[in-house]
């Protein structure tokens, strides 16, 4: 059936609006700070052939993971076994899921008794059981990481399946929150089904199907047009995750990117073998990193659906940290995923100097903690932190911001303190942490949690505490991160992947890394250096030593003759 361009545009927008409405519905009804405030979830619509058609994404990490996990769940359960009003739940990382905290809910959309497709949402749950509150930590195998849910029916013909519901909640520490979040996931799919139904009612199944086919072809056409503009060739780079939680032996990642006019191939096969430590990425997570990197290279206005994925090929070797196999632990897979994006950008930096930033925060940087409280019962809290973004071709890297696949908001201090027995003592930028450059990297941030009421189990799942994000084209690296426990005896560093018992009155401090600089620091516009010095982001001493700019703080101006002298020394 052929379709006029106007109906096409109308249907296409309505499909995106449907997933956007699912986002609103999920967020508003959710209970945990991680979902309701930090928006750690995404929604999508798949057609009956399990092709991804439309996405309402708040988190780009889900760009690849949902398109792997949802089709797999349906296939495994059997489309023929899923009826109207049913919903399938799963978080199984193997063979094609992600870490256990990401729980997907998939519901079929029927129209006149015929299967039209699936609406799905994926949400990061704060706790899914396992060895530590918030289900993050340095574990040896996936079984320690929490409850594994293979695709099972959690809603049948519109009603919750009580046995499954109870079994799931029994494994979870913060039952009240998790129960609320799961109900919100059910509500979001109901919203999606209603909205897609309204679209079908208006245009009919034939037209909608024709629009879907055309949408995928259209996306492919536009993606090809974008690929044609890119420099073609093969580009490679390697990089390392700093530590694995058990040893300080860094973890090697390698990426070869083949940019062609007719598609892009990411070859990640040369990454090192998987470890019995929280640094393993599943195939879906690796795929997600590649999809994200490609998406950043093309027009942001371009829709993401199967027409885009068709041109993306991701090769990995099973049994490596980029393609972990059962029963490897995977909770730290997103750390590795994020670093892989960095490696891909580094590979492309020579060919696309305008198109990629210097090294960014490049880690998820989780804090997860919880404990048993006489009033709250077992409570759990999860947050991730922004850091410095890398300098760009023509602009500084923004300060204290999420990078790459991650775009979760910070938990408001007042909301955190109201809901959980913790005090946030400090939330500020880390001065002098930027990677210096013609365009500097962003500053990292510091957040300090004090636990006045009593022992909590605290897990750090992060990285970047050994090497800061790299600079590009003469830019310097950002300052590495620090994770610190402050007790009566003083301060001590915590491992980037570690779990500790924190006693009443003690404090944990995160100081995230700055972003890498772009271009030589002594080429930075002295007025920009002055602005940073006046704002206290860069010290007078650092301005002089690294940027070779002399600042007269009394007069708030650049000492030009002194600066010329300083810079002449560099030239020599």
């Amino acid at each position: 059936m052929s379709l006029d361009p106007i109906t096409f545009e109308v249907v296409r927008n309505a499909l995106v609006a449907a997933t956007d409405e699912m986002v609103v519905s999920l967020r508003r009804a959710a209970y945990s700070t991680n979902i309701k405030t930090r928006a750690d979830f995404s929604c999508a619509f798949f057609d009956a052939d399990l092709r991804c058609i439309a996405q309402g994404f708040t988190q780009p990490v889900h760009l690849g993971s949902m398109v792997q996990q949802v089709p797999r769940a349906v296939t495994e359960y059997g489309a023929e076994n899923i009826g109207p009003g049913d919903a399938i739940i799963t978080n199984d990382p193997f063979p094609s899921g992600v870490h256990l905290n990401d729980v997907s809910l998939v519901s079929p959309v029927f129209w006149d008794g015929e299967l039209v497709g699936y609406v799905a949402n994926l949400a990061h749950h704060v706790d899914v059981g396992g060895g530590a509150p918030a289900s993050i930590g340095a574990f040896r195998e996936v079984f320690q990481e929490g409850l594994i849910i293979p695709p099972v029916k959690v809603v049948e013909a519109g009603a919750l399946v009580p046995d499954v519901w109870k079994l799931v909640l029994a494994q979870i520490r913060s039952k009240h929150e998790t129960g609320g979040d799961l109900r919100a996931q059910v509500a979001a799919n109901a919203t999606g089904i209603r909205r897609v139904g309204a679209l079908l009612e208006r245009h009919g199944l034939g037209t909608v199907r024709a629009a879907i086919d055309e949408l995928l072809d259209y996306t492919e056409r536009r993606t090809r047009a974008e690929l044609a503009r890119l420099p073609h060739g093969s580009f490679e780079a390697e990089g390392y995750v700093d530590s694995d939680g058990y040893s300080d032996e860094r973890v090697r990642l390698h990426a070869r990117v083949e940019l062609r006019a007719d598609g892009v191939r990411f070859d990640i096969t040369d990454s090192e073998p998987q470890r019995r430590a929280p640094v393993n990425s599943t195939y879906a997570q690796t795929y997600s990193a590649c999809a994200y990197a490609l998406k950043c290279l093309i027009d942001p206005d371009l829709p993401v659906n199967d027409g885009f994925y068709r041109l993306l090929q991701v090769d990995t070797r099973p049994g490596t940290i980029a393609h972990a196999e059962w029963p490897a632990p995977v909770v730290g897979g997103w750390e590795t995923h994020t670093r892989l994006v960095e490696v891909i950008f580094r590979a492309l930096s020579e060919a696309l100097p305008h198109g990629v930033p210097a090294g960014t925060k490049g880690m998820m940087c989780h804090a997860g903690f919880g404990g048993v409280d006489p009033e709250l019962g077992y409570w759990c809290f999860l947050e991730t932190f922004g850091g410095g973004y890398g300098g760009r071709f023509r602009s500084d890297g923004p300060d204290a911001v999420q990078a790459h696949g991650q775009n979760t908001e910070n938990a408001p201090v007042e909301e955190t303190e109201r809901g959980y027995p913790v005090l946030v003592e400090r939330l500020e930028l880390v001065e002098d942490s930027e990677g210096a450059g013609r365009y500097r990297g962003g500053l990292g941030l510091r957040k300090d949690y004090r636990f006045p009421r009593g022992p909590v189990t605290f897990s750090v799942l992060a990285d970047r505490d050994k090497e800061g994000p790299w600079g590009l084209f003469g830019g310097l690296p950002g300052r590495p991160a620090e994770y610190v426990l402050q007790t009566a005896e003083g301060e001590r560093r915590l491992g980037a992947k570690s779990t500790v018992e924190v006693q009443a009155g003690e404090l944990v401090s995160y100081r995230t890394c700055g972003g890498g600089g772009y271009g030589p620091p002594h080429e930075r516009d002295p007025e920009l250096v002055l602005r940073d010095v006046v704002d206290g982001k860069v010290s007078v001493e650092r301005a002089r030593a690294v940027y070779r700019v002399a600042v007269d703080m009394e007069a708030r101006r650049v000492d030009e003759s002194e600066t010329r002298k300083l810079r002449a020394e560099v030239a020599r």
Partner: protein, 688 residues
């Protein structure tokens, strides 16, 4: 003789409406906005009307104003030299914001630039706990040290936002007192008085905006007041607030952040009041101008109000709270969805070969191709012209002769050819794509919020609204469209039909089950007293004051509150479950409910002018006819054209038809018929 004047300053035009309170007779004026000093346009529009009606300044009894001055100051970076004072350890709240990127896949993104640079941000030593208890006493000496630094920075305004000040404002008040002593002449905004809401960044942002625009608004309003005084106007100047309802210029100078959406609110208020007057309290307001279209829902005569608002972010089809390109404002704002679809929105072909419309706009300059001002890119207005919906010779009363051939050639070249369509198909496509985008916006404010649009009346205004409303209503299965008189300046009439509003809030954060009716009475009483006191001080007679009690509720653990109007805990719980079910599709009656805050809206009733009825009469002959394209009619059909001013009350005719007036054109589709009501409104109804 007594008159009311409403002046609405928009981005392009300043609209004014003058009503004779005795007769209901209305005069209107439209002048160009004067961006360098908007009060010039204000005065010009006012004087034109006063001269036309032969009215003296002292005869104005009521004077209300909607202005973009606060918003523009933010967007154009013209805020006062502002400082930010917060709890020690948190000076970077404005830098860190929400630590997110405004665009997911753009590595060149920027965070919104903090409205206060870091060197004017200070922490003071003090700390409250979440229950308001003092964890660390306020160090007053430290505050004085900070004051000295502020003096050295020569600041004009200070925003103070201390952690948990929404529960206990003692430290903030004391900081305010010290700063006032140390910094005479500097305006100080306290978060606990501007927006006592929890979540520090949102409150801080709101307070900073209040502080930063305050000197600007102060100068602006004083300049208008001076000019009014020169002309013998002694009526108090009133300003429209973002949530509808006016406040006095005196109150506006203190809390200017409450007026950031004053213009859009005026339009919605006008639609709400028109609906109420006609016995249709449930309306959807549809305001389409040159660059954007705004859709908003009014239920039971009351506009929907939200607190999820950002100033300075780009207009878009919005997916509820996940855009971070602006600065959050946590004051009540009329809940509207604004999208980049106005008469000047540009149609273009994307790299995938598909036709797209907006969000880029040709604006007023160069404007659409057909304006002959050098515009080369086809717009929605050009498409409407090619389809015969606009008259080439009777646009703005014939002031501009529209260039049909130019519009046609541009659409042909830039849209039709690349698509392999003929020019009419392409023009139809432009209009339908725009309509679909507006349809999605309509869906967002209605179905998405749990309202069935089919039981609402669509009120269409703005220069372009009446040309598109009928198609929008048809697609959303809305049965009635209401087009007011002078739709192009309808927003300004909203200024004449509103009441004085003040909002008072106390944050409670307690389980609803533990709150007794008596406790609620205790919480409400001081808020109501404050409301009465403030309104009476502003000149409202006690019998004209009313107060509305509202509760902000949520399930324990949720973050977003729903507001229910009740003063009784049990009734409130029932209302809340029902409202939650309506809004989100489920409720959890077994779950505990948390009372977040109690809220009082104090309303000072202002008598409304009675509109002047139109004389009844038979339908006059059309002023002409021309071929107009309607998809449902299979193409161009010869269509009767009526002159709006010639239509008497009671006139009826069937679509297809065109109704032309000075500042707008109403398109009536086949399958609808029109009735002119007693007051000259056009009612477009679906034929059965």
């Amino acid at each position: 003789m007594s008159y009311r004047l409403g002046v609405d300053i928009g981005g392009t035009f300043t609209d004014a409406t003058l009503v004779d309170e005795a007769t209901g007779e209305v005069c209107i004026a439209k002048v160009s906005t004067t961006p360098s000093d908007p009060s010039v346009g204000f005065l010009l529009a006012m004087e034109r009307l006063l001269a036309e009606a032969g009215v003296a300044g002292r005869d104005l009894r009521y004077l209300a104003h909607a202005t973009t001055v606060a918003t523009n100051a933010i967007i154009e970076g013209k805020l006062a030299r502002t400082a930010f004072v917060t709890t020690d350890g948190f000076r970077d709240l404005l830098e860190i914001q929400r630590q997110v990127r405004s665009a997911l896949y753009n590595v060149h993104f920027e965070k919104p630039r903090p409205l206060v640079p870091r060197h004017r941000c200070f922490g003071v030593r003090e700390r409250l706990g979440p229950d308001g208890s003092v964890l660390r006493e306020l160090d007053e000496e430290h505050v004085r040290d900070v004051a000295a630094s502020l003096r050295a920075e020569d600041v004009e305004a200070v925003a103070v936002c201390l952690l948990h000040a929404y529960v206990n404002d003692a430290h903030e008040r004391r900081v305010g007192e010290i700063l006032a002593e140390e910094l005479p002449g500097v305006e100080i905004s306290l978060s606990s008085s501007v927006a006592p809401e929890f979540r520090e960044y949102l409150r801080a942002s709101t307070t900073v905006i209040n502080a930063g625009v305050q000197p600007v608004v102060l100068r602006y309003l004083e300049s208008i007041e001076d000019r009014l005084a020169d002309r013998g106007v002694d009526a108090e100047l009133l300003v429209m607030q973002s949530a509808g309802g006016v406040y006095t210029a005196t109150a506006a100078k203190r809390r200017p952040v409450y007026m950031v959406e004053s213009g859009p609110a005026a339009g919605v208020i006008a639609a709400a009041q028109l609906g109420r007057a006609l016995g249709q309290p449930d309306v959807i307001s549809f305001d389409m101008g040159g660059t954007t279209a705004k859709v908003s829902l009014v239920q039971d005569g009351e506009p929907t109000v939200t607190k999820d608002f950002q100033v300075g972010s780009a207009a878009q089809a919005g997916i509820g709270g996940s855009s971070f390109s602006g600065y959050p404002v946590r004051t009540p704002v009329v809940d509207l969805v604004e999208i980049g679809a106005g008469g000047g929105s540009i149609a273009w072909i994307d790299t995938g070969g598909k036709l797209r419309v907006g969000p880029r706009s040709a604006g007023a300059d160069p404007g659409p191709v057909c304006y002959r001002r050098g515009g080369a890119e086809p717009t929605i207005t050009d498409a409407n012209l090619v389809l015969g919906r606009l008259s080439p010779t009777n646009f703005l009363g014939g002031e501009i002769e529209l260039d049909v051939e130019g519009a046609r050639a541009a659409i042909e070249e830039r849209c039709a050819k690349p698509l392999g369509l003929d020019v009419v198909e392409a023009a139809r496509g432009i209009v339908e794509i725009a309509n679909a985008a507006m349809g999605n916006a309509l869906h967002l404010v209605s179905v998405q919020r749990g309202h069935d649009p089919r039981r609402f009346v669509l009120v269409a205004f703005g220069g372009a609204g009446p040309a598109h409303a009928n198609a929008l209503a048809r697609d959303a299965e809305i049965n009635t469209v209401l087009v007011p008189r002078s739709p192009g300046i309808f927003s300004a009439t909203g200024l004449l039909v509103t009441d004085l509003h003040h909002e008072y809030t106390t944050t409670v954060l307690a389980p609803l089950a533990e709150v007794t009716r008596e406790r609620l009475d205790e919480l409400f009483a001081p808020l109501e007293d404050a409301g009465r006191r403030d309104l009476e001080r502003e000149g409202t007679a006690p019998e004209d004051v009313s107060t509305v009690r509202q509760l902000d509720l949520r399930y324990v653990g949720q973050s977003f509150e729903l507001t229910v109007a009740s003063a009784d805990p049990e009734t409130a719980a029932d209302l809340f479950h029902a409202e939650h079910d309506r809004a989100y599709g489920f409720s959890a009656p077994g779950e505990p409910i948390e009372l977040v805050s109690v809220r009082v809206r104090a309303v000072g009733r202002i008598p409304k002018p009675v509109p002047k009825p139109l004389e009844a009469g038979p339908l006059p002959a059309p002023t002409g006819s021309r071929p107009v394209h309607f998809t449902e009619a299979g193409g161009y059909v010869e269509t009767a054209v009526y002159e709006r001013s010639a239509l008497p009350a009671g006139a009826r005719f069937e679509g297809p038809a065109i109704v032309e007036e000075y500042d707008s054109t109403t398109v009536v589709h086949p399958g609808f018929w029109v009735e002119v009501d007693t007051y000259g409104n056009l009612l477009l109804r679906r034929m059965v």
